[in-house]
């Protein structure tokens, strides 16, 4: 039953063929068996999950079910959950138990979802491999054919992606600041969506870069992502950047088809260094959409090559400001000092890992007197040019198709020699965050070593519906049914 989609599990739960308690227990048992090896969850909450499952069964018996009643989910440990430890995978938040619930998780609970626990991530969502977590790396349930070397699940939402791929949850939440949902979805052979900036409330999510962060779903099908997003999205008075616009029926949009749609292929994404298998899969995706009735056109996003460098000014700048709150006074870790400044400095040195410290320092530097204009202001201007590229492109086409990531999952410990090598993982995903547009990764094939590869669909702001329609077309054509060895 752990192989069920959310859509199929809903039907089985509502018909009485399956109980929420059975479904939850099956997942808790699988977590107990596999999590010691995968480390996908930082905190497992079996008592809470069983209580929620029993409540779901009672609601189902009354016929009073919500959109997700009885569906077991993993929650990225960046969402504050009332009464359940929330760590952001950092030592500095280690003992923190939020007295409040994030808006997105509150909406999921209201929809009847069952929370299995809090999933692992890169510390403060800063990373592309889950290697920066203070709670240890996550192991991808996929391995290379004939090779047991542990691979990364991608990041930062690596625990969520690994949990869904390994059948430890039917779906999961993630957040995506530069690719942190889409790249792990690609590495783990599942679907993952970064919605339009403003589609989901950021209230109660540990902040990394506030103008880029956006919550979104992971699941094993595009339709399941659409079902989850329907429950997560919507206006929230407590987040002034959350959009006050209606939430459409995303799941219904999945079946629209692509006939008559114009799909843009951005030529700047095609680099000489692109892995031949990734290039071939992209060509295959183009052919699939053409066969399904879409018109495919060549388009240009001239500032693509500057998106990543722009991101590594904007995101650290915002992070250095957001993470100023971790001072050892009001919550989290405290390391004593000779005076108040000493307490701050010792707490932050003891509490932050190496990557978080680097980004805080880069952010502090680019915002400091004398460097603000040269770095931060210039980056904001380049960001405007990147948005303008997309705005122009969407005059000519309805969605874009690109690869999700420049490679398949790599081994734990690879790409750790210098920070910039790791940053290059996000080259295809970061532009969507800079422009605030929605992006979906759909599993589309396996490479020669048997590892999953994803294709990315980008859409106009608040047009997730077209993104889901195109994603479903790719999903159907790809017929991706492969599952990882662990699971």
């Amino acid at each position: 039953m752990r192989d069920l989609t959310i859509a199929a599990a809903r039907t089985a739960l509502r018909s009485g063929a399956l109980s929420a308690r059975e479904l939850t227990d099956a997942h808790l048992d699988a977590i107990a068996a596999l999590n010691p090896r995968l480390n996908a969850f930082i905190t497992v909450t079996p008592e809470l999950a069983r209580a929620q499952a029993d409540a779901a069964d009672a609601a189902l018996r009354r016929g009073a079910h919500g959109a997700l009643t009885g569906i077991p989910l993993g929650i990225k440990d960046l969402f504050c959950t009332a009464g359940v430890r929330t760590t952001a995978a950092s030592r500095i938040l280690g003992p923190f138990v939020p007295p409040y619930e994030s808006t997105v998780t509150a909406r999921l609970r209201d929809a009847g979802a069952v929370f299995l626990g809090k999933t692992n991530l890169d510390e403060f969502a800063m990373g592309s491999s889950n290697m920066t977590s203070a709670f240890g790396p996550v192991t991808n349930p996929w391995t290379r054919r004939g090779d047991n070397a542990p691979l990364v699940p991608g990041g930062s939402s690596g625990g969520s992606a690994a949990a869904v791929a390994a059948r430890l949850a039917l779906g999961a939440t993630g957040t995506d600041t530069g690719g942190s949902i889409r790249q792990p979805a690609s590495f783990c052979g599942i679907a993952g969506l970064k919605p339009t900036y403003g589609r989901c409330s950021r209230w109660g999510i540990v902040a990394f870069a506030s103008s880029l962060d956006q919550a979104g779903p992971f699941a094993r099908t595009v339709e399941d992502c659409a079902i989850l997003l329907g429950a997560m999205a919507g206006h929230d008075d407590r987040d002034s950047t959350s959009a006050d616009i209606p939430v459409p029926d995303f799941a219904a949009a999945c079946t629209r088809g692509v006939r008559g749609l114009r799909i843009g292929i951005p030529r700047e994404y095609r680099s000489d260094g692109m892995a031949p298998e990734i290039g071939a899969l992209w060509q295959q995706g183009i052919a699939w959409l053409r066969d399904a009735g879409a018109e495919v056109i060549d388009i240009s996003l001239p500032h693509t090559k500057y998106a990543l460098a722009t991101y590594y000014i904007v995101a650290p700048a915002e992070a250095s400001s957001n993470l100023a709150r971790y001072d050892g006074v009001r919550f989290g870790l405290r390391a004593e000092g000779e005076d108040l400044t000493g307490l701050y400095e010792n707490t932050r040195a003891a509490g932050f890992g190496a990557e978080v410290r680097r980004r805080i320092m880069i952010g502090t530097y680019v915002l400091s007197a004398g460097y603000y204009d040269a770095y931060y202001l210039r980056a904001q201007k380049v960001r405007a040019l990147i948005l303008s590229d997309f705005t122009e492109a969407f005059r000519e086409c309805d969605a874009l198709l690109t690869p999700t990531a420049p490679s398949a999952a790599f081994a734990q410990g690879e790409k750790m020699d210098d920070p910039v090598t790791m940053y290059l993982n996000d080259v295809f995903t970061v532009p969507a965050n800079m422009a605030g547009i929605p992006g979906l990764s759909v599993p589309a094939g396996l490479d020669a070593q048997g590892l999953p590869l994803g294709l990315q669909i980008l859409g106009r702001p608040f047009d997730e519906e077209t993104v889901f329609a195109v994603g479903t077309a790719i999903e159907h054509a790809a017929g991706f049914t492969a599952a990882p060895a662990a699971g």
């Binding site: 007295p99 506030s210 006050d244 722009t310 009001r330 307490l343 320092m361 502090t364 210039r378 920070p419």
Partner: protein
Amino acid sequence: MSLDPATVRRIARLARIRLDEAEVPQLAQELNGILGWIEQLNEVDVAGVAPLTGGAQMALKMRADIVTDGDMHEAVLANAPERAGDYFVVPKVVE
């Protein structure tokens, strides 16, 4: 431009992160690697471009300036590393 050890120490002080002297050379090298790579933005012509400050192309909503919650002392203080009554405790800051 390149960060010298004194600048690295100054940034760490601004960021309130204590650095061991032994960490400075390695950190300077890493930060210089990142900043050197970022220098590529200097080749972009940004003349006349208005900076983009946010992720959403919408006007921020206004709300009434009223108190909507309160009386949560225990919830606010529940995670305090050290407290005395309804106060957070820090090292003495006034002589």
